[in-house]
Amino acid sequence: MKGYTGKTLFVNLSDGTVKTRPTDMEIARKYLGGKGYAVRLLYDYLIDYEKKGIAARDINPLGEENVLIFATGPATGIVGFPESGRYHVMALRSPLTGSIASANSGGRWGPFLKFAGFDAIIIEGKSEEPVYLEVLDGTAEIRCAKDIWGKNVFETEKILKKRAGRRCSVACIGPAGENQVLFACIMNDEHRAAGRTGVGAIMGSKKLKAIVVGGDSRPEVAKPDEFEEVSKEAINKIRNNPVTGEGLPKYGTAILVNIINNAGILPYKNWQTGYNDKADEISGETLAEKYLTKNRACWGCQIGCGRVTAVKEGCFQILYSEGPEYESIWALGNTTGVMQLDAIIKANHLCDELGLDTISMGSTIAAAMELREKGYIPDEVLEGLDLRFGNATVLVELIWRTAYKAGFGRYLALGSKRLAEIFGAPDLSMSVKGLELPAYDPRGAKGIGLTYATANRGGCHVTGYTISPEILGLPEKIDPLTIEGKAKWVKAFQDFTCVVNSAVNCLFTTFALGAEDYAALLSPVTGWDMSAEDLMKIGERIYNLERVIISKYGFDGKDDSLPKRLLTEPMPEGAARGHVVELEKMKEEYYKLRGWVNGVPTEEKLKELEIP
């Protein structure tokens, strides 16, 4: 049981019970931990519900029956395991998409949960009154949160840390989560977010304001001498790698703005084009030159991509903030046409303070701007707001209004899919399965289009980051404009990413480390002899079980799609000019590789992967 604490906390907010049960090591062996462990438990909940006569499709994402899981893995909190300061959040259903909810965050909350003595926390039911959970040194208590309900993320953390009276970490929701904005996130350690799929709204629906974790226990390693050796080797690889050793520490993820724009795939003004001749104004280079004050790394991280920034003067003044990282700069800036870094930093800060996912927030505002530009949103709904692309003041104002569902904000709080449907132009929502797409236009990187379409949680890049080979040339360069062989890359990246999210550590290690390195690291930690092939099989098992779950909600091949714009409107300019995504051809090849029919795993595939 080395690498794990061996204990899992089950909290039922409906009846107020807290139970500790052993972490199921048979499941851990097959699903590792983190995301994999959570997916397996969620599947069991679904089967139980079915036995009780509750169909998966009838589960209300914001209802008592939704189950929310916070999970670490065998890597989390292990000193010497590269970038092991993360945790994974999952829930049966996302209020934004209706699919499985899944999000991942850094900081130090993940390790601190293990130091508190637990591998995972499972939240069932729903509280009548606002509560928070305090998990310190092996004990857990549900406590009243009436006095902090309504507080923002930073205030909440400060109060609860003081109240705990010891070194701890807080994951919480802000007003956006309380108000059940469909893309509210869970924040921890001030600026770190389990950002996507509305996991913050689920916490809000359960009246769970925060989870405080801390303790003095430390996870043990099965073979310390062997681990020390492979750990040194892995850390050296990370330090000596030009990306993880120099590029990311120096510029953070925002270094991507220029290279992605140069490739003609940086979506501009709600994806009307993929090139913006002013992108350098909001680039990582400009951020470093004008606003960066220092780096801030997550627990146990050698890379330190986190940015500490300050806007010293002007109407967007903010004297301490963290970020924005690449996706947030793009979503709040490039796609809304706001080319002012000071406004983007302020907008990003507000999203963190109020608990909003920056990708969905920025993309929903951008969709609203295009809806307005094309005449779909009438003046009376806007109450005087000048909803033009590039309006920085309106960007900041709309973030407030969304978090509190004030005025036009009540429409934005529903996400871009519902917004575009309400105003009669559903194709202007740039989302897949209802989740707003991230910052790469697949018309100029076809593989990432297949990733978006087939991602179980909806339009997502971090479940299969094929931008790495297509644009960045890592681990090898492949042509972004062709579709040949992309299915194989996407499958491999999706499976491997499941391993990383179940280990749980940071995806950025994969710029320097491969599956062999992970096997070499995880084997001495757990004491299990695992090969790279074993791990890839675990990853495949997790991806397939997740797919089984979403198929129970009614998702199938028809939902593995892309917005019409990307399939039918050729890219108007840049390196990908004239290109659309030839999705169906890639999908056909992908399903064959996966052993799926119409987007659903076959019985043979499930048997092969030993999925129940």
């Binding site: 030009p242 990306v243 993880t244 120099e246 590029g247 990311l248 120096k250 510029y251 953070g252 993820t253 925002a254 270094i255 991507l256 220029n258 290279i259 140069n262 490739a263 003609g264 090139y275 350098d280 990582g284 280079e285 991509c305 990282e325 690449y326 996706e327 890049h461 971090v462 980051y465 790495s468 644009i471 960045l472 040339g473 890592l474 360069k477 042509d479 972004p480 404009l481 995806l507 950025f508 710029f511 840049g574 390196a575 990908a576």
Partner: protein
């Protein structure tokens, strides 16, 4: 032919320039002409061996946004082309 060459990330910082215009005869000449402004050392940023024949594998070099590794034919330049050079970068 007059073309533009753009530098990014650490290269921009090291050479103190975001971009420069050069009058070059062919694609390779773009970098030689740029080195007349940026210094001979710049050639080592782009070419991998002492003979300066092969492009460095760890650099991302593009012409009008297309990575030269993805271009199968001989690379020809034309008036107004934009060449970009990036050190290894990544994010997510």
């Amino acid at each position: 032919m007059k073309v533009r060459i753009k530098l990014f990330a650490t290269l921009r910082e090291k050479y103190g320039k975001k971009e420069l215009a050069v009058d070059a005869e062919d694609f390779r000449d773009v970098f030689y002409k740029a080195s007349e402004v940026l210094g001979k050392e710049f050639l080592k940023e782009v070419f991998q061996n002492r003979e300066l024949k092969e492009f460095r594998d760890d650099r991302i070099i593009t012409i009008n946004g297309r990575n030269i590794k993805d271009i199968k034919d001989e690379i020809r330049i034309k008036e107004g082309d934009v060449i970009a050079v990036f050190p290894p970068v990544a994010g997510g």
